[in-house]
């Protein structure tokens, strides 16, 4: 166990070194500062997605769900479409990035609190009722977004589309001042209560029997998940299968129930995939492909594999 985590840490460090140093020419100071900002953003996203997915899957006792089922991505997409619809291309491009980021956080956070607050009661089935409500809201948001996209002119549509693909190339490093503290604080809170996650993984009855306030814990952890999802979505756009890929890999590598280990492994794996992957795509392949595409493709394959494996078992 310790050896595996050590190996993952080394790989993560290697990815970071590769990202910072590969193909650096000219002024080192400029290159490193430029890359360091981007590096921090990628690490932020990696940890946010990894922790959010692992925690969410534990709460749902289901390894093929990701937080995106709650409809956050579609809400984000609707918001971008709405902004372009109301402000036009130029207005959208000229928006203050920090203000937009805060608005997105407020919107996604507010949506999450409404969803949990209204639908998460004392009952045993409430979590799934809430998830279903999330799915339905997701469809609603997507349909409204599609309608708006049909109404705007094709140039504006191209702008919307650009905003909706996860992009690791054009991370907005100006947002890090807000994003980093939020990710640090959220993961610290999860880490502080990591033993409770182990107990929650046993299911509702056992968690209550072992002295947890089940509804309170769900609310606590889901709130953190929604903050992490909101941060990562606002930084790079929606990523659907990346978290699934990372969580599946972490569980596969470690085969343990202890979240202290799984959370660390998932975060390291996510850093390796994002930072290492981005280094390869930017420096070695010369931007010939996009990491987002590959990650989603692999994640999709893992998702299918998990579903088929389940079907067989």
């Amino acid at each position: 166990m310790g050896r595996k985590l050590l190996a993952l840490s080394l790989l993560a460090l290697l990815s970071i070194a590769a990202f910072l140093l590969l193909g650096t020419r000219g002024n080192w100071e400029f290159a490193l500062t430029f890359r360091a900002g981007k590096l921090i953003a990628l690490i932020c996203v990696a940890i946010a997605v990894a922790v959010a997915t692992v925690v969410f899957q534990t709460l749902c006792a289901n390894r093929i769900l990701t937080p995106s089922i709650m409809g956050f991505d579609t809400l984000y997409a609707l918001f971008q479409t709405l902004l372009v619809f109301l402000l036009g291309c130029l207005g959208y491009a000229g928006l203050n990035a920090e203000l937009k980021f805060l608005l997105e956080l407020l919107l996604l956070g507010g949506g999450a609190f409404l969803l949990f607050g209204l639908l998460l009661g004392e009952g045993a089935q409430d979590l799934f009722r809430m998830l279903l409500a999330g799915v339905i809201f997701g469809i609603l948001f997507r349909s409204v977004g599609n309608l708006l996209q049909r109404l705007i002119d094709p140039n504006e549509f191209a702008v919307v589309q650009g905003a909706l693909f996860a992009s690791f190339n054009s991370v907005n490093t100006g947002l890090l001042r807000m994003a980093v503290p939020m990710v640090v604080l959220s993961t610290a809170l999860v880490w502080w209560r990591r033993h409770r996650l182990d107990v929650l993984a046993l299911g509702r009855n056992h968690a209550i029997s072992l002295g947890l306030n089940h509804r309170g814990e769900l609310f606590f952890f889901l709130s953190i998940v929604s903050i992490l999802v909101a941060v990562s979505t606002a930084l790079v756009g929606p990523v659907a299968f990346f978290g699934l890929l990372i969580s599946a890999a972490a569980h596969e590598v470690l085969r343990t129930h202890r979240h202290s280990l799984i959370l660390v492994a998932a975060s390291l794996l996510a850093i390796i995939a994002l930072v290492g992957g981005q280094a390869v795509f930017e420096r070695v392949l010369g931007m010939a492909g996009t990491l987002g595409l590959v990650v989603e493709f692999l994640g999709g394959l893992v998702f299918l594999a998990m579903i088929f494996k389940r079907g067989m078992a």
């Binding site: 006792a61 004392e122 045993a124 990591r194 033993h195 409770r196 182990d198 107990v199 993984a201 046993l202 299911g203 509702r204 009855n205 056992h206 209550i208 029997s209 072992l210 002295g211 947890l212 306030n213 569980h251 085969r255 343990t256 129930h257």
Partner: protein, 253 residues
């Protein structure tokens, strides 16, 4: 002492429990019996705080389940539901170790390890301690779950149909172990049971529910009569005495 005061419960408009008032003294093994739909599992879930009380009160040694924190209650009562399946990948030792969570909150010490060893030994799981629970038979898993409730080391132990997955051998062993816990450690044990003969053979008290109401309570001798059981289950039941034990011949009539 368990005090159940005027507890009523309804699902939607259908009443499941109506004004159940019951006093169970400390110590001993109580069997909760009754026909399907009598409200046994609902009463169990209310006692175990898995369901929220709608009206009435339930207290364990004066601790009100509605107002006491879950963590405090977890050191007073351990519960085991019938339909618990654990999806996490755990070894038997890990699973049993979770029973200590209310005491160590994630940081187990030497006395926790000691208690886990005792649990493994008492429920004959020492040989299986490193096996993963998804590789166990239903009966072995059931024993591991009971062992987990045992190491929680509480005064009260509530079990909902623990014999469900067990064959004759392990059903008898489990009932004997519960009897032993009650006799040796003075634990108060409440078991929801389907088979009236198991209740008669091992319980100190039998509490019978019917249609959401308390229908009868007493010692096995008082309950194991043709009249009482006949009224409870709405069928004719012959009671025979074999080797000093009353047996209900309910399976064929």
């Amino acid at each position: 002492m368990i005090e159940i005061d005027n507890v009523s419960f309804r699902h939607g408009v259908a009443p499941v429990l109506q004004d159940v008032t019951l006093l169970l003294p400390k110590g001993g093994l109580t069997a909760l019996v009754g026909p399907n739909g009598a409200g046994k599992s609902t009463l169990f879930s209310l006692m175990a705080r898995l369901l929220k009380l709608q009206s009435g009160e339930i207290r364990f040694d004066g601790m009100d389940v509605a107002t006491t924190t879950s963590m405090e209650l977890a050191r007073k009562i351990a519960i085991l539901r019938q339909d618990t399946h654990v999806t996490a990948r755990l070894t038997v030792r890990d699973l049993i170790g979770f029973g200590r969570f209310p005491h160590h909150r994630g940081r187990p010490g030497p006395d926790d390890e000691e208690m886990i060893e005792k649990g493994l030994e008492l429920f004959e799981l020492s040989g299986l301690s490193e096996r993963y629970i998804d590789e166990l038979s239903g009966g072995q898993r059931q024993r591991a779950l009971v062992a987990m409730a045992y190491v929680q080391d509480t005064d009260y132990l509530l079990l909902d149909e623990p014999l469900n997955n067990l064959d004759m051998h392990f059903a008898r062993t489990l009932m004997k172990q519960l009897r032993y816990l009650a006799d040796r450690y003075g634990k108060t044990i409440v078991v929801v049971l389907h088979d009236i003969n198991y209740a008669a053979a091992y319980a100190d008290r039998i509490v019978a529910l019917k249609d959401g109401r308390l229908s009868a309570q007493g010692t096995p001798e008082e309950i194991m009569t043709a009249d009482c059981l006949g009224a409870l289950f709405d069928m004719e039941i012959v009671i025979e005495t074999v080797r000093g034990r009353r047996i209900a011949l309910h399976h064929a009539g």
